[in-house]
């Protein structure tokens, strides 16, 4: 509850008309950003703890970390750029199931994405525009966005996908067309 309270306090402070409209002084606006980013960090820890609790195998679930990347909108995420294998877990906050395209920034040239049934998904790599690459303050080595379709994430539930970078030989072997997901 302590972590959620920070969010509650943040939303309490930001009922003020200055916070809603942006007519506060610059240093106050910066402080609002600080309060919100701390709350997002705590919220991330809360969700990670809950996701870990929901995982089936207890013995090794403690070792699994869940990281949020709050700069996915400018194609920057150290965890997808610096790991050849990673799991993407999507938590759906809506009360209906949801299908959505997922975009994560990567450095590699070819990736395989599998769902929890072992089905390999159709993926696509799109170059990150030069204008995004030069945003002041963006520290990222990613050159592509990896895109795949996450189908039917359950309402108020989650879905995970195993992403692995293909080595050169794997890439050559796997040039048969991936069967289209029905």
């Amino acid at each position: 509850n302590k972590k959620i309270n920070k969010f509650r306090e943040a939303m309490g402070i930001m009922q003020h008309h200055d916070a809603v409209t942006g007519t506060e002084k610059q240093h106050v606006a910066n402080d609002y950003s600080r309060i919100l980013s701390n709350s997002m960090r705590d919220g991330n820890e809360l969700c990670s703890d809950n996701l870990r609790n929901m995982m089936k195998k207890k013995e090794n679930s403690d070792s699994v970390e869940f990281h949020s990347c709050l700069q996915l909108n400018i194609s920057s995420c150290e965890h997808t750029e610096n790991n050849k294998n990673f799991v993407v877990t999507l938590y759906n906050p809506a009360s209906q199931s949801l299908s959505t395209y997922v975009r994560v920034p990567v450095k590699g040239a070819s990736y395989s994405v599998k769902d929890y049934l072992g089905k390999e998904l159709v993926t696509q790599l799109v170059p990150i525009p030069a204008s995004v690459s030069k945003i002041p303050g963006r520290q990222s080595l990613a050159v592509h966005d990896l895109i795949f379709l996450a189908r039917e994430i359950p309402a108020l539930g989650y879905q995970s996908y195993y992403v692995s970078e293909k080595t050169q030989e794997e890439e050559i072997q796997s040039d048969e067309p991936i069967e289209e997901n029905q």
Binding site: T23, L51, I74, L90, V126, I153
Partner: protein
């Protein structure tokens, strides 16, 4: 080089002045262009009303029409099984990615604005303008905090006879998630869904504009005593955001589609990444 994109529903390309041009035969022949433009912010001594500066509290352009950017950029189109993308650069600090995803009946505009150039000592207010062949008869709709849609009429107020002092700003309204318009004769509708609250208006029939970023150089004397000139990393703030454009016949299923898309934009999944460097897929499964 590839000049068109848009899957099998839209034909999207870029004209010589850098506007995105969209034709859609599959959609009752709706035509649309999207362009970035800007207003110059008014600067005054704030002593009398007519000398107010544009600032954090008020939007007050010192021109009655928005100004085109000079298109000095280029564009590239990427196509694949899941998404088709148009990467468009207008100039040093205005660019966007236009996306059409497979199986989704919408067009995504991912805009990137900033640092806004103020070397000419002129504050600027950047808009994106969607211009269509719809006859909207001076009416448009904006949502009220993501809930009901309120009807708006250009140069009018529902409860008193308006004598408009500010022809542009007086027609701007708050948009939390959605602004739309319809062609009553052809029974067609167009909606622009936003990923954050913005100011929006329809200053000409068939047009919708939304303000995406502002950088002003003079305080507007309403109390904050600071110009709206936000900076980061020692330069003007960069803003990146997303608009989703959907259109079709003015029907119940279209409104349901609008509502689902607005919810999807506002309540997206939270993405977590777990490095599993030494855990194979089978172990993980």
């Amino acid at each position: 080089s590839v000049l068109f994109m848009g899957g099998d529903t839209y034909d999207i390309s870029v004209d010589p002045s850098g506007r995105v041009v969209m034709q859609s035969m599959a959609k009752e022949g709706i035509r649309m262009t999207q362009a970035f433009q800007f207003y110059k912010g008014a600067e005054g001594n704030n002593m009398v009303f007519s000398n107010r500066s544009s600032g954090a509290y008020i939007f007050r352009p010192n021109v009655t029409r928005s100004i085109d950017f000079t298109y000095t950029g280029k564009f590239k189109i990427f196509k694949g099984p899941l998404v088709e993308e148009l990467h468009l650069t207008i100039n040093e600090w205005v660019s966007e990615v236009v996306r059409v995803y497979a199986g989704e009946d919408r067009i995504e505009f991912s805009w990137l604005i900033g640092p806004i150039d103020v070397n000419d000592k002129i504050g600027k207010e950047i808009i994106t303008k969607y211009t269509t062949n719809l006859e909207s008869s001076g009416e448009f709709y904006t949502d009220s905090n993501g809930r009901e849609m309120l009807k708006r009429q250009r140069n009018k107020r529902p409860t008193w006879n308006l004598h408009l002092q500010e022809p542009v700003a007086g027609n701007y309204y708050p948009v939390t998630t959605k602004i739309s318009m319809k062609d009553g004769v052809r029974q067609l509708r167009l909606a622009v869904l936003t990923d954050r609250a913005q100011g929006g208006a329809s200053l000409e029939d068939g047009e919708i504009e939304l303000m995406v970023h502002r950088r002003l150089l003079k305080d507007d004397a309403f109390g904050v005593e600071e110009a709206l000139n936000e900076t980061a990393y020692g330069t003007g703030l960069v803003a990146r955001g997303e608009h989703t454009v959907i259109f079709g016949s003015d029907s119940n299923e279209f409104r349901l589609h609008e509502k689902k898309e607005a919810t999807r934009l506002a309540l997206r999944p939270w993405i977590f990444i777990s490095p599993v460097e030494n855990i194979s897929y089978d172990d993980w499964k």
